[in-house]
């Protein structure tokens, strides 16, 4: 079958298992709004190896989605946005690429699953068209093989009766089914990097688990790296090699899930962990809500962005912005940005 051959002859089939795929270096994304310059992402650095999964956790407005889009090159410096820092993807600076080069990157080398499946799909195009479009463009498949492959992809993401679905419009499907279509589109060309922005937020728990399991299986098969962006610490922690907690445009803590749960050093990470209702706790346990709201990112606080809501904040927190530094306890892979960290034996 032609479609199966293409599956195996995707460019650079001799992928190295490891090695750095992505380096994000002091990225700042400033959005120019009528009210002033909004510092959506404000100095984020991390690296990602091939086949690795990093989970980015944060609440609305933390900049996690803008970061994802900046990495992908969907935000570029222009009249509305200024970007500084560097995003190196597979040895190329994403920000230096032209529209044409970006288009050959998107959907082929980098796949993206957005938060809202309805806006990611064109309401006047059939499901089949969404899938065949990308297959024909990037893999050069003919009409019929592309359609065959599209049906396979729908089957792969667990959509029953895929052939019938190809001729449906997005509005004829449930939210969960639509998100599966979006995932099928993102995986169509077996990208080296998948940016999944709240991929399972609209889905049921059992479906969520299927989708996350599916992403895990496909990752193992294809050696794809994943940036999993979510507000749900549970979703991210169970699936990511590393977790980065974002607050007000910055990464405030990054480590593996185990040490984050065992001993988060940043008060915001700690507060986030406590705000989640847990199944193992009895009913009617009062949740530790975080009072207040995240800062206005047009005029963020001078010091630590969390200081105004932080129970441990002292004077220096309001003056000096803390940088990420390694934990003396859980090793150099555990970084946190806090002057007065919590859960440290030596503190």
């Amino acid at each position: 079958m032609t479609s199966n051959q293409t599956l195996e002859t995707v460019p650079d089939s001799g992928r190295p298992d490891r090695g750095q795929l992505l380096a994000v270096e002091d990225v700042r994304t400033t959005i120019h709004t009528a009210r002033g310059d909004l510092k959506a992402v404000d100095g984020v650095s991390f690296t990602l190896d091939r086949g690795e999964t990093i989970g980015i956790v944060g609440e609305s407005g933390s900049g996690k989605s803008v970061l994802g889009r900046t990495i992908m090159g969907l935000h570029t410096t222009g009249p509305t946005t200024t970007i500084s820092g560097r995003v190196m993807f597979d040895g190329r600076d994403v920000q230096s690429l032209g529209v044409k080069e970006l288009r050959s990157l998107w959907g082929a080398r980098i796949g993206m699953v957005f938060q809202d499946p309805m806006t990611a799909l064109n309401p006047v195009k059939k499901i089949g068209t969404h899938l065949t479009e990308t297959l024909r463009k990037h893999q050069g498949l003919g009409r019929q093989p592309a359609r065959e492959r599209a049906a396979e992809l729908l089957d792969l993401v667990g959509i029953p009766d895929p052939r019938r679905r190809l001729d449906q419009y997005p509005h004829e499907m449930s939210g969960g089914m639509r998100q599966r279509v979006v995932i099928a589109m993102a995986l169509a060309n077996e990208p080296a990097l998948l940016i999944a922005d709240e991929p399972t937020t609209a889905l049921d728990v059992t479906v969520q688990r299927q989708i996350l399991d599916l992403l895990g299986t496909l990752q193992d098969e294809l050696g794809m790296a994943i940036i999993l962006i979510s507000h749900n610490l549970g979703v991210v922690a169970g699936r990511a090699d590393r977790v980065a907690v974002m607050y007000a445009g910055r990464i405030v803590e990054t480590t593996d899930a185990r040490s984050l749960f065992a001993g988060a050093h940043h008060p915001y990470s700690e507060a986030l962990l406590r705000a989640i209702p847990r199944l193992q706790e009895p009913p009617h346990v009062r949740l530790a809500a975080i009072d207040g709201a995240p800062p206005n990112m047009i005029t963020p606080p001078i010091g630590c962005r969390f200081a105004p809501r932080c129970a441990y904040a002292q004077d220096d927190c309001r003056q000096v912005l803390p940088e990420l530094r390694p934990s003396s306890e859980s090793g150099p892979r555990h970084l946190f940005a806090c002057h007065h960290p919590v859960n440290r034996g030596d503190a």
Partner: protein
Amino acid sequence: MSETLVTQPSAVPGDGDGRVLEVSDLVVEFPAKGGGTVHAVSGVSFHLAEGETLGILGESGCGKSSAGRAIMQLPRPTSGSVQLNGVELVGHSGRSLRSKRARMQMIFQDPVSSLNPRRKVKDLVAEGARIWGRKVSEERVRELLLAVGLDPEAVWERRPHELSGGQCQRVCIARALMLDPQVLICDEPVSSLDVSVQAQILNLLEDTKQRYRLSMIFIAHDLAVVKNISDRIMVMYLGRVCEVIPADRLAEHALHPYTKLLLESVPEAHLPDAELDVEDVGVTNPELPSPLDPPSGCRFRTRCPLATEICASEAPPLRESVRGHLVACHHAEV
């Protein structure tokens, strides 16, 4: 789990005499496009005791929202009975229905679209009472805004788009409280909110319930959220009740294979510090049957590892395990 952890006064929650709401044999069916009938809710009976929170848990298509709306007669159920304080709601319409269900209010998943974008907060909160022709004092609106944790001065003249999702949900709760409800039906009220805001709203609902002596139906898909706020939990699958379980028994004493599947699927079960000892129920078939043509007998049988012949021929009745814990499964050990 020791009984002392339960903060409710009665040992068997929801077993009091004071039943606010009595729902019997509720059936909700919709005509499907291209013929056929969607069996959204197929013969569901339950009650809500005074001061109780009943959680309705299930995935999309299980009929939890249809059941919640049918209680409100939005739209009217196909058949069955809904009694609020002993007064039958089914069969009434127009003014008569509106006056009978006035003390039952509902809040929804998307707080922003539940509010008229052109109205200001001060008017949104007063809207319901004004429709009833009541005079609403500014004082009363202020009081309710404070009760839901909003600063009246700050939000008074604002419109929904100028507020965050959490603030909009607070406005929705204030609107519902304006009509002095006895029963509050919450349909996925926190699922579109951030974790820290979700915690705020859950705490607020808990406080509001105590303060205004509400009985609540809390419909959601998130197990931990439902467990946190409920006294009893009714688990639904494809329009039927699988299990009614006291909330404190959910994590360790679930009996129905579907409830166990839900527990096993929770991301929390995969967390590093999970103390949950969930068993793998061995469900391999991910496919949800169509509500147009639900399976005969037990509706979960097509995915159930325990299924035998009897499951296809007979719908399992709800059987009581311990007091207040009911399960509808031929093979569950009660």
